[in-house]
Amino acid sequence: MKKCSLKKCGLVLLAFAFLLGGAGVAAAKDILIVADQYDATTMDPIAHNDVPSSRACYELYDTLVFVDNEGNVSPGLAESWEFLSGTEYKFNLRKGVKFHNGDEMKAEDVQYSIMRATTDAGAKIATYSQNVKDVEIVDDYTIVVHLKLIDYSFFSSLAHSWGSVISKKATEAAGDSYGMNPVGTGPFKLVSWQKGNKYVLERFDDYWGPKPQYKTLEVRSVPEPTSRTIALETGDADIAFPIVHNDLKRVGENEKLVLYRKPQNSTAYIGFNVTKKPFDDIRVRQGIFAALDIVGIQAASYRGIGKVPGTILPSAVKYSINDEIPPHVQDVEKAKKLLEEAGVKDLKLEIWTNERKERVDSATIVQAQLEEIGIKSEIKVLEWGAYLNGLMEKTHDLFILGWVVSIPDPNFAVAGLLETSAIGASNYTFFSDTALDELLREGRSLPDGAGRQAIYKEMQLYLNEQLPMIYLHNDESIAGTQKNVKGFSPRSNEIHSFREVYFEN
């Protein structure tokens, strides 16, 4: 009868479904499983400027120099270097370095990697690459980088993922699909990448440096904080980050786990659109600042994580006086007075933010506190694309955004945010101030030393007075690991490194 065949269909479907399901494979500890928040967008080092992708690139590639948490530079693919002048850096390359495809890394590859970053393909990291004029090949193992302008911050930026050295041959062969087929010199090579879920890297046995002690690195993307913590607790993940505030205690007090906290080089801020009335008036900006209990807002929104910044430079960035500034005190009377002086009455404004929970929370409290001085406000939570687009259109009033300083040089903490030339790019306050621009230019033109330090101190104090933005939060990098995971330490730029990790029984 027909019914029998129906039954058969059902059975086949069932069997099919189970086949699809497959079975999980339990592995010996030759694999490190990391639970990250997001997946990498691309593994092409110059096609992104986001942290998860940078983390992937960090394991796949090497840069000419390495910079540690404290900003100390050490040799990478370049064994040594020499500053020929303010605009000419000479690098002596390491010999015998192999790409994952077996080819040797040569000067040609380095030149190709850096010059490729200056083309449109590198639009996302143009801040770093735009100053490169040329890369000159002296011989197979020597290159000279020529800059357009003196900029001492450029050197350390080479340690950023944009400075990763890629194989010229492999990149040209892969064309547009290079982002999925990376070929670097790093300690790991890509095995598989299931987008939105996980990528699997395998130890590169011809690596020139110290080889990782385990074979496979698996990085899963687990967007839900609760799920990440559970993965850690159940042993499904060896390392998990970020850990959110309400799980801090849970991870910290778990005997099988270790909690790591590290101040992060980032600043979340409440920006003003200074081209729009009345926010072009410094008194209005100061008045609003006075009305806000920033310490309370930060504490309530971030709940024990991070701190309220004193200046624009995060504490770990060179020349920061972040920790020397006394905490801000809410002063409603002062706020009212300042607004009155500015002739502002019945102000109505919008506070924009993206979906990130802490920012929405902050906006919600800011809204409540502004109401106390008679400012009515409306919160608009926008998804990322619409948010950035809206900011470009200059119609916003107040907005909450963050800035991560990937390279611990003070220039990168300020220039992209507030320099006149960054208008139309990432300067969403549209702050354009000749005094600041001059300070930034001077800061770049000086090598590290007391002179440079003085300039950045002045810059920080100047910005605290000008107030194009109210600093809200310096974040922390927080990660949890299994107790047997050793050699891991979160990095303040969030580009955590897994190559030194090993397991202790």
Binding site: D247, R250, A300, D361, A363, I365, Q367, K380, V381, A386
Partner: protein, 295 residues
Amino acid sequence: MSDYSAAAPAVTGRKSRRGLAEVLFRLRKSPLAMFGLIFILCLAFVAVFAGVLAPYPYQKQNLMHSYETPSRQFWLGTDEFGRDILSRLIYGARISLQVGFIAVGIALFVGGMLGAVAGYYGGWIDNGIMRLMDVLLSVPQTLLAIAIAASLGPGLFNLMIAVGIAAVPNYARIVRGSVLSIREMEFIEAARAVGSSDLRIILKHILPNSMAPIIVQSTLGVASAILNAAGLSFIGLGIQPPYPEWGAMLSGGRQYIRDYAHLTLYPGLAIMLTILALNFLGDGLRDALDPKLKR
């Protein structure tokens, strides 16, 4: 068997009721439908008088009292800002009902008109409209709503439009179907004969006669609109804070599900009960309005 079922209509002892009274009478026989009706009426009452009924303003923060579990002061506890969850749920009812009913209103108006026109005129107009509906129907409703919500941007009104437009084909189909079955009936012919205009015939004669399936679909439609809207808010394409939309409340509380489950439990329960009530009511109405089941 046929004797038995045929015997039933012969029961003529009861007074026959007309219209609404009859529907209500039949509805009353289904306890689940009555539960649905009463629940929705109560919810509507709460929504309308939220300002009076809610113990606190929905946006009132009290950071000293955050994450409190239910107590006598805060019946359903407080959220991460110390806002009273009960008050937020009460105001949330207003938003959810608004979204549900207005979205269905939009869908009903647009879909009803399109369906009526398509069914009434037939021919290429019918073909054109219904092919367009096919196009919309071949994109699943949730996806369609997301696409529309994404392009309109977040916000209460946009949410209603997104959810409403996504539901248009349902109503267009129903109304067209009813119109087709009614169009050729004698009283329509009669109306045409006395020179009624097309619009008048559609509005006065055809639409009221396709009311039963529309009412049922609308009731169930409000449920799915509320659900859809909550889903969109849940993934961040819906209502903006501090407005207490249930789906957004749920989404906001999910991070705290291990420590403070009441942040997610109550909004979820509110959504579920509302949808349940509407579904029960819709089912009951279908039974009450379906002439095939008239006893």
